[in-house]
Amino acid sequence: MNVRSIPKQNNGTLLSVENVSTYFFTGEDVVKAVQDVGFSIKKGKTFALVGESGCGKSVTALSIMRLVPAPQGKIVGGEIIFNRQNLLALREKDMRHVRGNEISMIFQEPMTSLNPVFTVGNQIVEAIKLHQKKTKSQAWADAVELLGKVGISDPAQRVRQYPHQMSGGMRQRIMIAMAVSCEPSLLIADEPTTALDVTIQAQILDLLDNLQEQNRMSILLITHDLSVVAERADDVAVMYASRIVEVADSQSLFAEPLHPYTQGLLKSLPRLGFSGKRLPTISGAVPDPLRFPSGCKFHPRCPIGCSDRRCQTVEPILREVEAGRYVACWYAEDRKQSSERE
């Protein structure tokens, strides 16, 4: 299945991921965590990646950083073009320069991603000093300032604490502080605010916005919180079962989701004041990455696909159904037209 990547590299593009596939070879099985994924991120914009839990978002992010855990995981194909160079072809030494300096990443699990035996200050300072010419005391001052920025109280004392002395949300914010410390041109934020309460979440997102404005930083935002996507993202890609099923700018995606999975997702968004007894969900079972259904992987859960022969046998490719809108569904055009008719 070969999908040519969408928006081709142009001037405004900072990163374009083309047909990347990443597999895990575990025991007897091969887990195809990411298959033929492609998208591109423009300079200074926020690109959101949403999708079902386990669909391969984090692995995509790790692939960009070239940090897929060896020896199980392997990037088996594709290209990742960042600033006109293919990251996958870089030597480890050059890649090191890219990491942290130009692309930095907020990991999804701040708990284990912080080194337990160093103070958080130490870990932030390390990142600062690595990429910026700063003295030790300057770096420490920076670290304290950053902690304050991400809303940690009493930062001067907190820098001297160890990760295990922090609450979950604090650790997450420390990851964020570390990632933004050296002002990267691309920030990959893998669920950066899951452990944060709404007020701090807002504060963090504002901080990111500010940075974005100041440095023309691009953000790859991976999240489940669709309201955050709606508020902050410029473009959105929806992943389902290790593939991208829909790409659009966020306005139009929320206004008019074209893929049935996206639609289901938006429908099950819990809203304040919801009074039903059960929350709406997308019916059907979550696909098993070892035994993906044939054809369109969503078809067993799709109101049309479950009875459609084509959906059951042939996997749809990502197609442009409208300028800037890409959908991998056989019925996307139909849906589009019908909605237009209305």
Binding site: M65, L67, P69, P71, E92, R96, H97, V98, R99, G100, N101, S104, M105, F107, E109, T112, S113, L114, N115, P116, V117, F118, E126, A127, L130, H131, Y162, H164, Q165, M175, M178
Partner: protein
């Protein structure tokens, strides 16, 4: 913390008591009556009895104020170990031997630790590669070849044939000169096992998430290994290293013998061989105290390298 340290130091008392008791019991078990040797050849039983009396060997072992055990306990507490069988003050003996022993073991030990830990980090990082396999072969060979062969070959070739080092101790050499070759041999011989051990320890940490974070920051491999991985792998390293330190003062028997280093390693074996209880007792006592001390240090180090460990 201070309370903890004080408590732990108080705890030396039962250990020292235990050690004294144990050495004493062991010694009576193994036996070896020095009076026979002192009596000389052709001595009569009467002479032997006299000598036993003079040495206090006829006193009860335990359970009396004047028992042999109590007397030894007393002598240990006052650090007055008396004289060895060759009539030297034991304290002097130890003072004399401890320098050369340490000169031999300390550089050897620390070189082994530093080299093997560093190599282990590298080897663990390239796990499964040719280098790793090669390291296994070399290490195992190093472990399998008897210590003695290293010594004999080192002495014959490096010292005698090629003249890089002196063959043997001589009063006109500096300590650094005559200790160099034995230290080198000790390092080579000790590397294999240690490297293998530390490699395993490192492997366990090598694939943790925080390593990934460190790489994501753009740190170079060396820094990731020597800062992040190393500190996390510190617990077993500390266990192995810190608790070996008290025994450094006991020196290294074979190296001392072959290179004429007047250290304590040999002295200890000799004392056991000639059943010189007084010397054994003194050395054991000192190593017990050091051991307790370093045990405490180990536990404190645990909590220093891993903040999640609490002492109390």
């Amino acid at each position: 913390m201070t309370a903890y340290i004080i408590r732990r130091l108080l705890y030396t008392i039962p250990i020292v008591f235990g050690v004294l008791l144990l050495t004493f019991v062991l010694f009576t078990l193994i036996g070896g009556d020095i009076s026979l040797e002192i009596a000389g050849k052709g001595a009569t039983q009467e002479t032997i009895d006299d000598i036993r009396r003079e040495y206090g060997l006829n006193k009860p072992l335990f359970l009396a104020w004047d028992s042999q055990f109590i007397n030894h306990f007393k002598s240990a507490l006052t650090f007055d170990f008396g004289r060895s069988r060759d009539r030297e003050l034991i304290i002097d003996k130890i003072k004399r031997g401890v320098g050369p022993s340490l000169a031999l073991t300390v550089p050897m030990f620390f070189c082994v630790v530093i080299i093997s830990v560093s190599l282990a980090l590298v080897v663990a990082f390239v796990r499964g590669s040719v280098w790793d396999t090669l390291a296994v072969f070399i290490c195992v060979a190093g472990m399998s070849i008897p210590y003695l062969s290293f010594i004999l070959f080192g002495q014959y070739f490096l010292a005698y044939k090629w003249g890089i080092f002196p063959v043997f101790f001589s009063p006109d050499l500096t300590m650094a000169q005559y200790v160099a070759l034995p230290v080198l041999i000790g390092i080579v011989a000790g590397l294999g096992g240690n490297l293998r051990f530390y490699r395993t320890v490192m492997l366990d940490e090598m694939r943790s998430d925080y390593v990934r974070t460190a790489f994501a920051k753009g740190l170079n491999t060396r820094r990731v290994l020597f800062k992040h991985v190393l500190k996390n792998a510190m617990i077993p390293i500390i266990t192995r290293v810190v608790l070996a330190i008290p025994f450094l003062f006991l020196g290294s028997l074979l190296l001392e013998r072959f290179f004429g280093i007047p250290g304590l390693g040999h002295m200890m074996i000799e004392a056991i061989g000639s059943r010189d209880y007084f010397v054994i007792n003194a050395m054991t006592y000192i190593s017990a105290i050091l051991f307790v001390l370093f045990n405490l240090i180990t536990d404190i180090c645990y909590s220093l390298v891993d903040p999640r460990i609490s002492l109390e």
